[in-house]
C-alpha cells in the first residue's frame, strides 16, 4: 500500500505538495490524446524561457535602476491609469522605484533560488536514496529514519527555527528548501533503485568486480536520471511559492536584494492607497508557477509516463 504521508511530499506553506499526482489538465489532455512525446506546451515553455531571459539579461532590459529612489514619484499607478507618470509601465512603489524593473530583477532571485534548491535537494536526495536502497540494512534504516524525522517538521516551522539561528537571507532559504525536499527525492529514488538492484546488469557488474561507486555512478544513476529530471521540473513551481512565502514572512531574501515575496511584504502598508504594488508581483509569481507546473506535467508525461499513475 502507499503510505499517504509519503505521497504528500514536502509541504510548502501548507500546500500538500503532491506534484506527482497528475493535474486535471494533464488527465484531460491524456484522455483526448493531445499529449504525446514531442507535443511541447509552447506557452508554458515560452514563459519559462522569458523568466530565464529576464534573469540573465536583467541589467540590459530593465528600464530603470530597480533600486533608484525618486521620492517625488512615489506610488504612481501603472501607465493605463490616471495619474501615472511616463516611463513607468507598471507604476512605482512607495519609494518611487520602478515596479517593472523590480519584477525583472526579482526574476533573478527566483531563478537562482530555484536552481540551487533543485540541484542540491535533487543531488542529496538522489544520493541518499541510492545508498539507502543499494546497501539496505542499517544504512537504509538510518536514512529512512532521517527522512521520517525530517518530514515530521513542517517546512515553515523549520524555516522559522533556521532563520532565528542563522539569520534570514538567501542562503537560509536555500538550506530550508533543500532540507524540506531532499526526502522526497530520496524516497522515490530509493524505490527505483530497489528494483534496479535486482536487475541482471547490476548483478553482472557486481560479479565482474566493479566497485560500489562505479556501479552506482555507471549503472544505476543513468537509470534514474529521467525520474530525477521529472521530479526537478515538478519541484520548480512549489519552490517558487515557498521562496515567496519565506521572503514575505521576512525569513527569506532580505532587502536590498529583491524578491517577489519581499515586494509583496513591502507593499502591505500601502495597500489602502495603491493596489498595484501588492498585485503585480503576485501575478508574476502566479504566471511563473502556472508555467512551471504545466511544463512539469508535460515532462512527466513525456519522460516517465508510468508516474502518471502515482
Amino acid at each position: 500500500m502507499t503510505d499517504p504521508s509519503r505521497a504528500a511530499g514536502p509541504q510548502t506553506a501548507g500546500h500538500p505538495a503532491d506534484p506527482l499526482a497528475p493535474s486535471a489538465i494533464t488527465r484531460m489532455l491524456r484522455h483526448v490524446r493531445l499529449i504525446r512525446a514531442g507535443k511541447v506546451p509552447w506557452v508554458a515553455g515560452g514563459m519559462l524561457l522569458l523568466l530565464v531571459f529576464c534573469a540573465l539579461f536583467a541589467d540590459l532590459i530593465m528600464p530603470w535602476d530597480p533600486t533608484a529612489l525618486n521620492l517625488g514619484k512615489a506610488l504612481k499607478p501603472p501607465i493605463w491609469q490616471d495619474g501615472s507618470v511616463s516611463g513607468h509601465l507598471l507604476g512605482t512603489d512607495n519609494l518611487g522605484r520602478d515596479i517593472l524593473s523590480r519584477i525583472i530583477q526579482g526574476a533573478q532571485v527566483t531563478l537562482e533560488v530555484g536552481l540551487y534548491a533543485i540541484v542540491l535537494s535533487g543531488g542529496i536526495g538522489a544520493l541518499m536514496g541510492m545508498l539507502s536502497a543499494y546497501f539496505g540494512g542499517v544504512v537504509d534504516a538510518v536514512i529512512m529514519r532521517l527522512v521520517d524525522i525530517q518530514m515530521s517538521i513542517p517546512s515553515i516551522a523549520l524555516a522559522l527555527v533556521l532563520a532565528a539561528a542563522l539569520s534570514p537571507g538567501m542562503s537560509t532559504v536555500i538550506v530550508v528548501i533543500v532540507l524540506s525536499y531532499w526526502t522526497w527525492y530520496a524516497r522515490i529514488v530509493r524505490g527505483e533503485v530497489l528494483s534496479l538492484r535486482e536487475r541482471d546488469f547490476v548483478k553482472l557488474a557486481r560479479v565482474a568486480g566493479c566497485s560500489t561507486p562505479v556501479i552506482l555512478w555507471r549503472h544505476i544513476l543513468p537509470n534514474v536520471v529521467n525520474t530525477l529530471l521529472v521530479l526537478a521540473s515538478l519541484q520548480l513551481g512549489s519552490v517558487i511559492i515557498f521562496e515567496a512565502t519565506l521572503s514575505f514572512l521576512g525569513l527569506g531574501v532580505q532587502s536590498p536584494q529583491m524578491s517577489w515575496g519581499l515586494m509583496l511584504n513591502d507593499a502591505r502598508p500601502y495597500m489602502t492607497r495603491a493596489w498595484w504594488p501588492i498585485t503585480l508581483p503576485g501575478i508574476a509569481i502566479m504566471i511563473v508557477c502556472l508555467a512551471a507546473n504545466v511544463f512539469g506535467d508535460w515532462m512527466r508525461d513525456t519522460l516517465d509516463p508510468k508516474r502518471r499513475q502515482l
Binding site: 533600486t67 517625488g72 512615489a74 512607495n94 534570514p168 521576512g250 532580505q254 532587502s255 502598508p269
Partner: protein, 529 residues
C-alpha cells in the same frame, strides 16, 4: 464630610482640598487600542520600551516629567543633593498618603526594597543603574537618604529620574514572581485587573490615587491589542474602540479627514541616527578610513535631504534633532540641523581628497522597530551615493543588527549603520552618550555600542558621568552636544519619530502625558460629559 476631613488634616493644602472635591471616584468605561503589547509587567524585570506602555500607568518614580516635559517632584515631595566625606548623598522626603493598589501606604522601606530589588541581577534588568548606590538609609517612614559609593551623573533629576520605583515591599515579598507580573502592584493612576495575552489588558482607576489634580476620568479602561494598522484604524472609525495609538504614517491623512476624530502627534521616545565607523583605521578593502576626516563626516551630514525623507518616506511623522531633543536636560535650541547642501558636501569631499568618492558597507535595519525605518535607511544611503559615498547596502534584521551595534559581539560594524536610541530623549543623554560617543573600553562600561573614538570627547564624557548637580551638569552636557555637532561625533542625527494618537472627540477627554519618553501614559483619559 469630605471638606471637614480636609480642614482637620491641616497638613493638606487648599489645592488638595479642592482636588478631593473634584475627584469623586470615576465611573464609566472606555475601550481603546494599542498596536504593541507589553510583555513583562514588573518594573524590575521589564526591559523592552513597550513594557512601559502599561507599566507607566501602574508604577511611578520619585520624579517624573509633566506634560510640558518639565521634571516634577512626584513620589518625592522634596529632595536635596549634599555631600558627605566627598561622596554624594541624596536626601528625600517622600510624599505622604501615597496608596498602593493592593493596600498599604508607600514608605521609605518600600523605596529601600525597590533599590535592593533593582540592584539584584537575578531579578533585575537594571542593576547597572543602581551600581553606584551604596545603600539607602531610612530616617523615618517618609524620609530617607540615598548614599553613593561614587558619583553618578545620570542619577539626578532630568537624568535617570532617580531610577527608583514605588513598589510595595509587602506585596512583592508575599507573591511569587509569576503572580507579580500577572497582577503588578503600584501607586499609579491605574490598577491592572485582568490580562489576556495577545488580546487585552483591563485596567481600573485607582480610587485612592494620591494625585488629585491629574487622574483618570473613567473607571474602567480596556486596552485591546490590535497590531494590524488597517484594523486598528478601522476599529476607531467604526467605534469599536474610542482611542488608538500609532496611527500608521501612510494613513495619517485619511484619519485626519474622518468625522469626529481628533489627533495629536508626540515624539515617540526614540531617536535615530547613522553611526559612522570613525573608530577604524581602515575600512574593508581600503588602506584608509575616510570617516576619520571630519570633512567627510560633515559631507555625509550635508548630503542627505532629511526634510524630503521626512515628508515622503515618513509622511511627516518625524522631527529633526541635533544634539538632543526638547525636554532633555542637554537640549540646545541654538544648534540647527545640518542643511541639505550636496554642493557643499561634494566640495568637502574634494577638499578631503575624495573627489572620486569611495565605497563603504551600509547596514540597514529592516525590522520595523519604527514605522518605515527600512525605507528611511534606503533613502538615506541613496542620498549618500550622490556625493560619492557609495553604499554597498546590507539589510539586517533586528537581532543580528543588535549584535552588530554591540561592540562586544561579532560581527563588528565596519561601515555606516542605521542606529537608534543613543541621544537621550526626554531624559538625560549621559548614559547613551557614554555608550556610543566614548571609545570602546572592554570591561569598563564605556562605548559598548560606540563607533567613535576621540580622546577629547572621552574626557568630556567621563566628566559628565560624575557631575550630579544640575547647575553644573546642564552646561557641561550642552558643551558636549556642541562638540558632538561640530565633529559629527557619534553619527549623523536624523530624526525623532512621532507617534500619532487618534480618538473620538465627542466621547473621549484625553490629554497626552509623557513617561520615560513613551507617550502611552494614560494619566488623564476620561469620558466627556
Amino acid at each position: 464630610m469630605k471638606k471637614f476631613a480636609c480642614a482637620v488634616a491641616g497638613a493638606a493644602s487648599l489645592l488638595l482640598c479642592a482636588g478631593t472635591q473634584a475627584a469623586e471616584p470615576a465611573t464609566g468605561s472606555l475601550t481603546i487600542a494599542q498596536a504593541a503589547e507589553s510583555t513583562m509587567l514588573d518594573v524590575t524585570r521589564a526591559a523592552a520600551g513597550v513594557d512601559w506602555y502599561i507599566l507607566g500607568n501602574i508604577n511611578e518614580q520619585l520624579l517624573q516629567p509633566d506634560p510640558t516635559l518639565e521634571v516634577k517632584n512626584w513620589l518625592a515631595e522634596k529632595w536635596e543633593l549634599t555631600e558627605v566625606d566627598g561622596l554624594p548623598v541624596i536626601e528625600i522626603w517622600l510624599r505622604k498618603g501615597v496608596k498602593f493598589h493592593h493596600g498599604g501606604e508607600l514608605t521609605s522601606s518600600d523605596m529601600a526594597f525597590a533599590h535592593k530589588r533593582l540592584a539584584n541581577p537575578d531579578v533585575s534588568k537594571w542593576p547597572h543603574y543602581q551600581a553606584k548606590v551604596d545603600h539607602i538609609e531610612i530616617i523615618d517612614d517618609h524620609h530617607f537618604k540615598i548614599i553613593f559609593k561614587e558619583p553618578d551623573g545620570t542619577f539626578i533629576p532630568g537624568a535617570g529620574l532617580m531610577r527608583l520605583y514605588g513598589i510595595s515591599e509587602a506585596y512583592y515579598t508575599s507573591h511569587s514572581e509569576e503572580e507579580i507580573q500577572q497582577r503588578p502592584d503600584g501607586t499609579g493612576p491605574w490598577k491592572l485587573v485582568d490580562r489576556k495575552v495577545k488580546e487585552e489588558f483591563v485596567l481600573e482607576a485607582h480610587d485612592d490615587y494620591w494625585n488629585q489634580e491629574h487622574r483618570p476620568g473613567v473607571k474602567n479602561l480596556t486596552i485591546k491589542i490590535i497590531p494590524e494598522d488597517i484594523t486598528r484604524v478601522a476599529a476607531l472609525q467604526t467605534g469599536a474602540v474610542d482611542w488608538i495609538d500609532a496611527v500608521p504614517p501612510a494613513m495619517i491623512e485619511d484619519v485626519k479627514k474622518m468625522d469626529g476624530i481628533a489627533t495629536t502627534a508626540r515624539p515617540s521616545g526614540n531617536n535615530l541616527f547613522m553611526s559612522l565607523p570613525q573608530y577604524l583605521d581602515k575600512l574593508p578593502g581600503r588602506n584608509d578610513n575616510p570617516f576619520k576626516d571630519v570633512r567627510v563626516r560633515r559631507a555625509a551630514a550635508l548630503a542627505v535631504d532629511m526634510e524630503g525623507i521626512i515628508e515622503h518616506v515618513l509622511f511627516g511623522q518625524a522631527q529633526r534633532y541635533t544634539t538632543t531633543t526638547p525636554g532633555s536636560a542637554a537640549y540646545d535650541a541654538s544648534v540647527e540641523p545640518y542643511p541639505y547642501d550636496p554642493q557643499k558636501a561634494k566640495q568637502l569631499m574634494t577638499e578631503a581628497g575624495y573627489a572620486n568618492g569611495f565605497d563603504v558597507n551600509c547596514y540597514n535595519l529592516i525590522t520595523p522597530r519604527e514605522p518605515n525605518v527600512k525605507e528611511y535607511g534606503e533613502a538615506f544611503y541613496a542620498y549618500l551615493g550622490q556625493v560619492g559615498i557609495r553604499c554597498k547596502l546590507i539589510g539586517e534584521e533586528y537581532a543580528p543588527w543588535l549584535a552588530r551595534n554591540n561592540r562586544s559581539r561579532e560581527p563588528q560594524n565596519d561601515g555606516i549603520l542605521t542606529h537608534m536610541w543613543g541621544h537621550g530623549v526626554v531624559a538625560d543623554p549621559g548614559t547613551p552618550w557614554s555608550g556610543h560617543m566614548h571609545c570602546y573600553a572592554p570591561g569598563e562600561g564605556w562605548g559598548s555600542y560606540s563607533h567613535y573614538c576621540d580622546p577629547e570627547m572621552d574626557a568630556m564624557v567621563k566628566e559628565q558621568a560624575t557631575v550630579m548637580d544640575p547647575a553644573d551638569r546642564i552646561p557641561l552636557l550642552k558643551r558636549i552636544g556642541k562638540k558632538k555637532y561640530e565633529d559629527v561625533a557619534g553619527g549623523i542625527t536624523t530624526y525623532v519619530p512621532l507617534v500619532t494618537f487618534a480618538w473620538r472627540e465627542d466621547k473621549v477627554d484625553y490629554k497626552p502625558w509623557p513617561w520615560m519618553g513613551f507617550w502611552r501614559k494614560l494619566q488623564e483619559i476620561g469620558i466627556k460629559h
